[in-house]
């Protein structure tokens, strides 16, 4: 399946994206999202901070980077290294 890592926010608001193919099952993905998914309804106390979300299928969920389990870390780190700015006209 295809997953997309998104980074948004920052002192200059922009979205960065990276895609990759993974061989996870739907159950694995669901379990992962349960662990790393967060509801972000307010900006919190930080200012100009950026945050990550994960897109899989038709779902997009804000994630807590620090909660990514060790076995998935490499995939996420690689995607982070390949983040590209979503170009605007």
């Amino acid at each position: 399946m295809k997953i997309t890592l998104l980074r948004s926010g920052g002192i200059i608001p922009m979205t960065k994206k990276a895609e990759t193919d993974v061989d996870w099952t739907q159950d694995e993905l669901n379990e992962l999202l349960q662990i790393i998914g967060v509801e972000r309804h307010s900006p919190g106390i930080a200012r100009d901070a950026s945050s990550y979300s994960l897109q899989a299928g038709d779902r997009t969920l804000s994630i807590d980077w620090d909660k990514i389990p060790a076995k998935y870390k490499k995939v996420f780190e690689e995607m982070k290294d390949n983040l590209k700015i979503e170009k605007k006209e």
């Binding site: 002192i11 106390i45 979300s53 290294d81």
Partner: protein, 362 residues
């Protein structure tokens, strides 16, 4: 009448004092002798000071003057070594360390941190972010190629940039002043970080960031370029924001497109109050109050921090009136009031503030 006698004890006349010291009551005699001794000391001190010249008086005054501690900037710089766990960052430098760091980013944040502290202290008598002398903690080399800088609620964090589109986020004093001012706002009006209040929060950071830069460069309102982040966004014709002409900091950038900031209220961007909507466009609609400040400062002339800066600082710290959910109209009213309080109700300063907000169509 009491003559030749200690003024502090002259309620007891000398003849009575002499009687008392000869008294058979030992306690009374002791007191009287003590009193007479102090009187002599007092008279002799007074005689001595009568005979001193101006130079001697100055030296003695300097010796006796109580020394009060003068506040100074307290800074700490930490190296994240491209990691994201701040607890693993190492202390690179702190105020008082004799050895100066060689790291360019460390030098940048020390200089800009000091410039920021100085502006707040020397102009507004504010001692650091919390006005209680808080140590300014700055973390550099955060993450790999991290193209951002942020205030996490108690410290500043700077990335090195990807070196392709963005340079180091320590490259501009205004960016560092911007982040530190988020701290000041947190300890003052604590404006919400969404919708118009969020745009005001961002604008205060830009306004003080630009004043810190202009003061560091000794630039008046005419000489200044009013650009934020001109070194952070690589490319000679680009900057992150322009207070003078919001919406023009970058045009047709190959990756970022064109600066989306409006300068006037009729172009206010109604964006969703979500993470992807920049919490209602806090970094976008800040162009409007930014422009109001620019026009005010420009019309007043001289240095931006002398008059416009004082007015905006008075507004930011008036927590009874600038509420956490303030709107642009609220800040307009407060800045007009502050200009009147500082410079007079019919002053040119009040007119300049009104004209500034009118230019931004607020």
């Amino acid at each position: 009448m009491c003559t030749n006698h200690s003024s502090i004890r002259c309620i007891i006349p000398p003849y009575m004092e002499d009687k008392l010291k000869d008294s058979s009551n030992l306690a009374l005699a002791k007191n009287a002798i003590n009193s007479k001794f102090r009187s002599y000391r007092f008279r002799s001190d007074r005689e001595f000071f009568k005979g001193t010249n101006e130079k001697e008086k100055t030296v003695l005054g300097a010796m006796s003057a109580r020394k009060t501690a003068t506040p100074h900037a307290k800074l700490e710089v930490y190296n994240c070594k491209k990691g994201t766990d701040l607890s693993k960052a190492t202390l690179l430098w702190k105020t008082g360390s004799t050895k100066k760091p060689t790291d360019r980013d460390a030098k940048n944040v020390i200089k800009a941190g000091t410039d920021t502290w100085s502006l707040y202290y020397e102009l507004f008598h504010r001692n650091s972010i919390d006005n209680l002398g808080m140590t300014i903690k700055q973390y550099i080399h955060y993450d790999k190629k991290y193209d951002n800088a942020f205030w996490d609620g108690r410290r500043m964090i700077y990335g090195d940039g990807d070196r392709t589109i963005f340079g180091s986020f320590t490259s501009d004093v205004d960016i560092i002043g911007h982040e530190l001012t988020h701290g000041v706002t947190q300890f003052e009006a604590n404006l919400d970080y969404e919708m118009q209040a969020g745009a005001l929060n961002e604008s205060f950071s830009d306004v003080f960031g630009i004043m810190i830069k202009q003061r560091a460069l000794n630039q008046d309102v005419k000489k200044a370029d009013w650009l934020i982040g001109e070194n952070v966004l690589l490319g000679k014709k680009y900057a992150l924001r322009s207070l003078k002409a919001p919406g023009t900091a970058y045009k047709n950038h190959p990756d970022l497109g064109t600066d989306p900031q409006p300068a006037t209220m009729d172009n206010y961007q109604n964006l969703p109050n979500t993470e992807n909507g920049d919490w209602g466009g806090v970094h976008i609609n800040s162009g409007i109050p930014n422009y109001a400040f620019y026009v005010t400062a420009f019309n007043l002339g001289g240095f931006s921090w002398e008059k416009a800066g004082r007015i905006w600082y008075a507004a930011l710290t008036d927590t009874a009136h600038l509420l956490h959910n303030a709107t642009f109209v609220d800040l307009k009213k407060i800045t007009v009031t502050k200009a009147g309080e500082l410079f007079g109700a019919n002053s040119l300063e009040v007119k300049a503030v009104k004209d500034g907000w009118a230019a931004a169509k607020v």
